[in-house]
Amino acid sequence: MAEHSENQNRVTGDCGSPEHRAHRRLFLQGAMASGLASAASFNALFSVPALAQETKKRGKKCILLWLCGAPSQFETWDPKPGTISGGPFAAIPTSIPGLQISQLMPRCASIMDKLSVIRSMSTEPSEHFQGIDVLTRGEQPRPPFTRPILGSVVAEQLGQLDSPVPQFVLLEPCPEGNEFKSFKAGNWAGWLGAQYGPVRSGGEFAIPDILKPESLSQLDHEDREALRSFLSRKFQNDQQSQAAEGYNAAFNRVKGLMSCAPLFDLEKLPQADRDRYGPGAFAQYALQARHLIENGSTFVMVANGMPWDNHVFQHEMHQMLVPELDNILFQLIGDLEDRGMLQDTMVIAMGEFGRTPWLNEARGRDHYSKAWSLAMAGGGIRPGVVVGQTDPLGFEVTENPIDNRRLFATIFKALGIDPKEQYDLPDLPTFHRVEGNVQPIEELLVG
């Protein structure tokens, strides 16, 4: 263990070069993806080949394309062409005979035999914050206990905590997003502990925090500034004495993560790959997710504000958002397959619920959790399966309703994690990874 720690320090140690300092600054600003070029390749970070190999070792991994705001099932996986609820877009055939999806997804249609879709998601929360909470944690909240988010569980179960490569990464160019922003300010890893929380990268589209909150008095504001100034000077002095690196484990952890900064540098990725994924921020971050998974991360969540929440301009927005998602899934699944990684890497594309079968007056679709869809591929998910169905207008699930518990049981089982296992932590009441003794969706599981 001591030897490992030593190696760890060697591979992640700050050499004091200006490059490392630049990466630390960027990392702490949450803006690593903004593109300062690094001269080092990722592999060069590992001075011990065995560790590099270990870090990249094959195991189950997951990429969650978090379609925050909630996409419309009608314009994606469950079209209802020619009906009052179907919207203006047509349905097209797919590589699975008899199965149609939205005309906005021609690329996914061509690889439908590699994807699987649940058309019968039916969940309770119909507001964003609660929906995000349930669909990322798998369960309704039970205060004061906080259930860890999916990425934290997967990182804890399948990841390597001592790896210099972050095991759970959240990539998000647009950290705003009303309810999503509020959610993100909360506790991600819950009772597992902060070490299983995500490393977050992105944020170039953040709103500058320049206004003093009304709740903060001028006196408090000045006190905080004095404290900030003190700590800043202290940090500067410590740096000059070269003592900062040794302070505590947390700081070393940050240093370790900083050493991976090249992994977060979009500019280092091949231009041909960047072109294939498409120019938008979400597409570029999806490519980076693939890159991180290839290089040792276990769970990467890609989010992008809340662009899918189209209460206004539903079709005007989905005409752009869905084709981008279509291409991302096509490229991602193709890349993982080409690299022999699809079998072990699960890709999930979902939001917190669906959209109403009806249009509101503002050309929008509102929140709808009674009947909605999501897509999955790879990582233990049987390809080419469509689970459940909805009625002809998409109002109700008519076959095989799936709730958040069954979804999570399926995800965990496919990744090789026991859904029924009880958490064994001090001072914690009896909690299971998935509550309610529910069964995974067997038809979705490989072998």
Partner: protein
């Protein structure tokens, strides 16, 4: 001088109406609806579905000389119908994507239809370049293509000048291009940043743009409308906005008086027959009107309508009455399998 705008007649159609035209005697209306094309008797409220497109029907125009009406749809097609018997005379696949809007020149010779799918063009989601010509001018009689003109998608509104010499088209990004109809040569235009939102909250992409336009009576200016900038475009709470531009000099002449505007997308413009004022209408998100009459010279608001539904088109009949069409939100509950009607037709009188 203030005008009173009074509703004198109203009824419903099965689904929302996106566009409309009046037929010869102005007693009948062709309604472009989500579920097809309806022929409507304004006085008796009788209506009949006489055809459809493979998607929403987005606009309709009537050619008196030919006794035909033409519809455009989100299937990218234009369809010619006989006004005498509603028979389908011709159909042309004009665009690969939607026809967002269609216009007929005043001399009844030219039809124009505009298209364009908004696709991601860069990291910040500026629109990608067009993959098909965004503006097409057709011979109104035989549907033959006259000009295919370039623009940046999505192109959402189009209008001919009153002298039929120019055509203007406006897009998502607030850019308006003006061409000479005869030559197809671009002769002017402007770009207004005020109609487009980039959503730093929720949606960091572009929404909005110019949804309707009209040339001024002397054709020297263009009046355009839409919705003002929003930090959160999903709120739909941008200012009810019109602007008047000298399109030859790319110069803003006038715009909505802020104190007279509420919130909501404006998507219909029409000149008053007296040519001294214009009406702008759309959706009410905040405020107390969703259509208003504005004095053309001063820009002052001189009359308002609060319809209670989204207005998509307004037309004046030959008696000076205002015909307003649009739609409420789509009902979420059916009554024994039938959804309540949510398309709206209303007739108003304007009095001083």
């Amino acid at each position: 001088m203030q005008k009173t705008i009074t509703r004198i007649h109203d009824f419903k159609l099965p689904t929302a109406i996106l566009g409309a035209c009046l037929l010869q005697d102005h007693r009948e209306l062709i309604a472009a609806c989500l579920d097809g094309i309806y022929r409507v008797e304004l006085d008796t409220k009788k209506h009949q579905r006489i055809g459809g497109h493979d998607s929403y029907v987005s606009s309709a125009v009537y050619i008196p000389e030919q006794q035909t009406f033409i519809t455009a749809g989100y299937d990218g097609k234009l369809k010619w119908f006989s006004a005498q018997d509603n028979s389908l005379l011709r159909e042309e696949k004009v665009h690969a994507f939607w026809s967002w809007d269609m216009a007929l020149s005043a001399d009844q010779r030219w039809l124009a239809s505009v298209t364009g799918q908004y696709l991601a063009g860069d990291y910040k989601y500026s629109p990608a370049q067009e993959t098909e010509a965004s503006v097409k001018i057709l011979d109104a009689t035989d549907g033959k293509l006259v000009h295919a003109l370039r623009h940046v998608p999505s192109v959402q509104s189009v209008a001919f000048s009153h002298n039929s010499q120019w055509i203007a088209a406006g897009n998502l990004m607030g850019e308006v291009r003006v061409w000479d109809v005869a030559s197809g040569e671009q002769v002017g235009g402007f770009e207004s940043k005020d109609f487009t939102s980039w959503g730093i909250i929720k949606s960091h992409c572009y929404l909005g743009g110019i949804f309707a336009m009209e040339f001024s009576p002397d054709d020297s200016e263009l009046i355009v409308c839409g919705m003002g900038d929003m930090r959160d475009p999903m709120a739909g709470n941008g200012k009810q906005l019109w602007q008047r531009w000298n399109w030859k000099e790319s110069k803003l002449v006038a715009q909505t008086n802020e104190k007279q505007a509420g919130e909501g997308l404006m998507e219909s413009l029409v000149l008053h027959p007296a040519r001294d004022s214009f009406l702008m209408g759309g959706r009410l998100r905040g405020g107390d009107w969703n259509a208003a009459l504005f004095d053309l010279s001063s820009g002052e608001r001189i009359g308002t309508i609060k319809s209670g539904y989204r207005i998509t088109q307004m037309l004046f009949d030959n008696q000076g009455r205002l015909v307003v069409v649009g739609g409420q939100g789509q009902p979420g509950k059916s009554n024994e399998g039938k959804f309540p009607d949510f398309g709206r037709v209303e007739v108003y009188e304007l009095k001083t």
